[in-house]
């Protein structure tokens, strides 16, 4: 599979999912189980992505400048900082720690 194939397949599936919502009957949305699972699915995936993006490096678990950066991000989120501030602050923390040689 080339990267182009992957980009196109993923994009088409996502468009199909959006379209599906307009095609299936309304009563499905009121059923508690599918709605609950869809909601928790988003939480589980995002949470797993946070973990892997913070600690993973290929197949290794690595402790480096990303951990303090993500902790700063969490602190800013507690203070209700906007998305862009959180993301830029995390990048800045990691970049500075690496520049000063305090973390890998």
């Amino acid at each position: 599979m080339t990267l182009w194939t992957a980009v196109l397949v993923a994009a088409i599936i996502c468009v199909a999912l959006k379209t599906l919502g307009y095609l299936i009957p309304q009563r499905f949305v009121e059923a508690p189980r599918p709605a609950r699972i869809a909601d928790l699915l988003t939480v589980a995936l995002l949470s797993a992505l946070v973990a892997v993006q913070t600690l993973g490096e290929g197949q290794a678990i690595v402790v480096d400048a990303r951990i303090p950066a993500v902790l700063v991000a969490a602190g800013l989120l507690l203070l209700r900082a906007p998305f862009l501030v959180v993301v830029v602050a995390a990048a800045l923390v990691a970049a500075l720690l690496r520049l000063w040689g305090w973390a890998a």
Binding site: L3, T5, A6, V7, L8, A10, A11, I12, I13, C14, V15, L17, K18, T19, G21, Y22, I24, F28, V29, A31, P32, A35, I37, A38, D39, L41, V43, A44, L45, L46, S47, A48, L49, V50, A51, V52, Q53, T54, G56, E57, G58, Q59, A60, I61, A65, R66, A69, V70, A73, P82, F83, L84, V86, V87, A89, A90, A91, V93, A94, R98
Partner: protein, 258 residues
């Protein structure tokens, strides 16, 4: 945003149809402006993950749903081309919630094949949220279309800008872009952690993904972590009653990400 919209809902009860329409325009454009600002971060992260500028732009033009786009490039960044099937699966699973949005928007967007086909593409967190925040039928329709179209334009322009910028920057680690991606996922997750059940699922999913990372191909641990959600959701462990969970109305994506 939540407090403001409640206040506006109260005033809207006395508002004229024109004022209603203006409010839908104002909210839609406001949300679109905020969102467009960080299409830049998506563009830069995608290029850092190894996509070229065209692939990055196609994701924003066709996929056009921020959580899935970030997930796709996140998994590619971790595992490269061998992780492509896992990247496709992650993006697709995160796109599942758009089915629910489509069902809610279906009676709102109007009739006719082309109109509904276009509406499907503009169905994202923000357009649904702005639409549902309006009180009249006309304002709901207007809110959906204004928000969806404005974000589509802004998100794609800022993605291109970010991709060009990322191309110039070079080594993404030196600029902390890997940490920025983790922070972006955390910011998307944060407003959904209001109750016991999602918090438990979030912690369990993070633990599962971390434990499995050394033993499985990159991308697969994230997919297995998703099973936690299916199991907990199916049996409704730690849940509260059988009422369908309400979408939080100030999810980060809605004030910033399609």
């Amino acid at each position: 945003m939540r407090r403001l919209s409640r206040l506006e809902r109260v005033t809207a009860a006395h508002a004229t149809p024109d004022a209603e329409a203006r409010r839908a325009w104002r909210q839609g454009l406001g949300v679109a402006l905020a969102t467009s600002a960080y299409g830049v971060s998506f563009g830069a992260l995608a290029v850092a993950a190894g996509l070229d500028i065209w692939q990055t732009c196609v994701l924003s033009l066709v996929m056009f749903t921020g959580g899935s786009q970030f997930a796709f490039v996140g998994v590619i960044a971790a595992g490269g081309l061998p992780a492509a099937p896992a990247a496709i699966a992650s993006a697709s699973l995160l796109g599942v919630r758009n089915i629910a949005y489509g069902m809610r928007m279906s009676p709102v967007v109007g009739t006719g094949f082309w109109r509904r086909a276009a509406a499907a593409q503009f169905t994202i967190d923000e357009s649904t949220a702005v639409s549902l925040a309006q009180t009249t039928r006309r304002a709901r329709t207007l809110g959906f279309w204004v928000t969806g179209i404005a974000i589509y334009i802004g998100w794609n322009l800022s993605t291109l800008a970010g991709a060009l910028l990322g191309d110039v920057l070079g080594d993404p680690r030196a600029y902390g872009l890997d940490a920025a991606a983790a922070a972006a996922f955390l910011a998307l997750l944060w407003p959904r952690l209001r109750h016991r059940q999602p918090i438990a699922v979030g912690i369990a999913a993070a633990v599962v993904a971390t434990m499995l990372t050394p033993v499985l191909m990159p991308g697969i641990p994230v997919l297995i972590a998703a099973v936690v959600a299916v199991v907990v959701g199916w049996f409704n462990w730690l849940g509260v009653g059988d009422a369908p969970p309400e979408e939080p109305d100030d999810v980060a994506e809605r004030v910033g990400l399609p």
